[in-house]
Symmetry: D2
Subunit: 341 residues, 4 copies
């Protein structure tokens, strides 16, 4: 960590500051410029709060040199983590597609969609039982009943299931769920992250609408630091000034994350753009940028969907999507799950 | 709600669409342009999801005409709501200052700060017991013990207290707290909002870093729709591209909110800018823009603070701040709480 | 265009408003809701300023239904425009790569780079003679001398050249340039756009850092409305809160633009990310998202570059890039220029 | 400037790098951490491009310690610059209001508005002759004729005039203009800035929609480095995700700029919000935050305005605004120009 002192800090003040830092267990290196003295702090600075240092009277600015995350850091774990969910693998050359409706609506719907997306090549079934909705007057999901419909459908077709948790208090309800999803709005619900860190179950962590890549990794670190290292990261668009898409898919986040962390990185093109016709080009772009998987909304009857219909594909459209994506996945020399394996 | 149909929608399609909408209980009005037909839906559209409509094959775009919030809407409640917290009033011409440290650290600290800020004119004491921190390795607050220290200090000085809840499961711990704060990262933790809506206690709702003013009002609506109408809104800066301040204080949010809602609106200048020297100019600006109160970080020893020291004022600096602010509050013809009242 | 009147506008006021609009040559359609009356304006509203209408006392909001651009609009020109620059074609199934250094430095450099990038498959040579630099103390380009070096190098290798104009007054200097580039900072330099609209020469128009897709199309419209319809659009990253890349490449802009306009759309991955190692994944993503070409920085000695070295590839790295990209271009069934054609 | 080398850079590589930097005229200081070596460069680094350094193979990151602007920097010029425009002073305790229509429309209009705003306390008259408009089909201003009408009106009422230049080629037309305005879209039109730097006339420099405060200061530096030190900075809102205001007024920019530079700083509330009812609260906030002046749109008949009517005040509303603002200006102990002086 680099501490830049204010201009005109006196020599005795610099020395006193250095001694205080050394008392905290850091080695210090001084670099004196014409106007500015810089103090380098050497040691484990991940527990040191840059904001606290900035409030010191002598301090002009503080800059981190090393990343504040450890367990998620590729520097200390160079090989790709492969997360295996009952045979469906994410990362390390394995590509995985999660598909299903935004909201779970009925047993018939879930079975139909599960059957269809499996045939088309989706390795896992998704569906929302607890729905985070901006308006209290919007449909909030079938909740417990929805979870049961999802698990039943998954069992019938042999598909592992992914669904979102909205509150740490619900954790017991998710015992049979294969991957627990943390939605964008909960990316910094730290209590929830800690509880998930105590489970022995993969977590799908979505990036918040206004969260940096480093913050996403710090949220993964929350889960990992509690003992659960099975975290799948998901880019799903950030909030910008551009109105023509619901969010702006930050495609660069894919290569940046793959460089910084060993965890698998997937992309949710449906939520990023908000309209079904853009799912194909964004999915192709995600694969080409290095993503380890996709999460795609599929609904048997999008115009009757109880939420987010505009961005859902029909099963037929999803089948065509998968056909179109295969050559891109092959070009990346990645292995996609297939029923025939 | 206005539904814009795609160009070249045929007359029978338009009619079929209108009939479907009428079956849902809306009156419809058609407006045919050269290329475009527009369907106006008349009735209570707050339960209708624009996204769902957008997924209809015929639909090109959907635009709301009326606001999706009701209880928070000034249209249906023209007088300012005044929230009275044991004599400290927010809104309707009353101006209130909440002050205290970001993190609660010790009994001595809390008593000292409480005493000082009360003398200087702060009506309420704040302090963080449960701290949302980006890093799992940072100090997370004294939690239950911190809550006790805050309540004790408040009791000694007679100050009502404000503190942040991070998880709905903790609600019982907050029984004696006077105002429960929802932090920016939890603004869309809908489960938490619903639980708070079932309490008989004011809620201080902070705007999320990337949330629109309408989303803030919808989150207030979550609380209000459960029965608790005592919501204080707080602007605390949004995330933008500008690096010279931690966040960008959206000062326009103050007049916009005062126009759209009857709820009190306060400003947190400390978190918005992240540095103590800017608290004065931003506080003055907030008052001048029409805010009903301020939330200011005060720490007995900012450079030793366990979190967010850089933005904390000393009790002396806070006293000077309050002296500087009084003429601005008077110019707005607002009444500020005073011990001598 | 839809005009939403304020609640409680009286019937005579509505009628008077409608008559005024009809006097301006529009047909009107009224739609009366419970609280709101909506006036649909039918006719050529592209010359009508929504802002002006919004200032009318009765008006609550104004929403456009049709796009404000015409010549750039795919609705009125369904086939892809193909721009042919001395045999190098952009759009309509043709894929083109423009490569070269950010700044022109010497004759030797330009010849070497031109030779190399041509061999690797770049159809055109780029190089900056006039450099827009944030600091007046930074190198501003070789200017006229630089232009000459670029033209000489292009002539020697037979490569058409692309270079940026910074001021309308320089237009005569660009007579022999094949494509004139408008940089991101000049995207709304309307005087410059008009002058370029009077040339018979393709224009490469880069999206501004904070400009919407619609504004980019309106800037293209400025050029086209003066008579020059040879406009190539370029997405090069927008400004967001994310610090890990210089800008955020808005990959969704590619399919959105391809849907809205018939003009070719290319991507500049080098400026979007600011670091050379990300050029490959972002280039692949751009191709997969539907781009008609790329603009890539190549420098014979990046660490000695007078500007933007961090994002430049060496000629060797560029050659590898092109080899890696070919299968992606083929998968899109696009034709890339080749020396052997 | 601080150069952070990549982990595992060898000792001979560090030495070779340091020698190269010393050959460029800098002193170097090395600070060796556990994983990282940091090289401090001492000397005039304002001519050194951080981007170029970042492209060096050994370099991981580069951080500036001192600001890249000199002439605009308060460090080297501690007293406020006062800009005196025929008796109307900006900065150093003087507060100035510039008022007038967005677009100049007729002689009658300009004389009426000039007369009215002068009586109400505006020191200068503004009006747009050359209008930067997003659409080529919108009214582009009366251009030369408009300039003449503005100058005539100013002469009749004795008001100095402010108007926007869009192209360096027009500079001769602005000979009699008192303050030349650079619009937000031209903030980084560097050629224009240089030409203005060669004039002996104050320049009003507006911040670009997506430009940082540092970039605004670097654009001021462009003008100042050519010899013209009479620059007035103007905050007018930045582009964010919030849709309820046209732009987001960055009120923090006022105190930040006042700290970093000695130049006067004014605020344009009309463009920031885009609606007339918000001009009052934002103007008060701007004064309270420390602004040295305001630029306000006033139109004799806003609903008939040829551009930006929605944000214009009537002369009556402007008169009330000025009455409301005076006590705030007095509270800041600033002197506002008055006809009776």
């Amino acid at each position: 960590m680099i501490v830049i002192l204010k201009p005109n800090t006196s020599e005795p003040q610099v020395e006193a500051f250095s001694k205080r830092m050394e008392a905290l267990g850091f080695k210090t290196h001084l670099s004196r410029g014409e106007n500015t003295t810089i103090v380098g702090l050497i040691g484990d600075t991940s527990r040191l709060d840059p904001e606290k240092l900035k409030s010191e009277e002598l301090v002009s600015d503080v800059k981190r040199v090393s990343e504040p995350y450890k367990k998620a850091n590729r520097k200390f774990h160079t090989h790709d983590t492969v997360i295996d969910v009952r045979g469906r693998k994410f990362g390390g050359g394995f590509f995985q597609v999660i598909a299903g409706p935004c909201s779970i609506e009925s047993a018939g719907q879930m079975e139909l969609v599960s059957e269809c997306v499996k045939k088309s090549g989706a390795g896992l079934l998704r569906g929302g039982a607890f729905k985070p909705r901006t308006s209290p007057y919007s449909f909030q999901g079938l909740e417990n009943e929805g979870l049961r419909l999802l698990l039943d459908a998954g069992q019938k077709t042999g598909q592992p299931v992914v669904t979102e948790i909205m509150d740490a208090a619900d954790i017991r309800l998710f015992e049979d769920v294969d991957i627990i999803q943390v939605g964008a709005r909960n990316m910094q619900n730290f209590r929830l992250l800690k509880i998930l860190g105590q489970q022995d179950k993969p977590v799908l962590l979505k990036r918040g609408l206004a969260n940096t890549i480093e913050e996403l990794l710090m949220s993964a670190e929350y889960i990992m630091s509690e003992g659960n290292e099975q975290v799948i990261l998901c880019e799903r668009g950030i909030r910008t000034f551009e109105p023509s898409t619901r969010n702006t898919l930050d495609i660069s986040a894919v290569p940046v994350l793959k460089k910084l962390t060993h965890l698998p990185v997937i992309v949710d093109p449906s939520h990023a753009c908000g309209v079904s016709w853009m799912v194909l080009p964004l999915s192709k772009a995600a694969i080409a940028a290095g993503a380890d998987g996709l999460m795609v909304e599929v609904h048997n009857n999008p115009s009757q969907a109880l939420s987010d219909g505009a961005q859902s594909l029909t099963p037929q459209a999803f089948d065509e999507l998968m056909r179109s994506l295969r050559p891109y996945i092959e070009l990346e020399r990645k292995t996609i799950w297939s029923e025939r394996q």
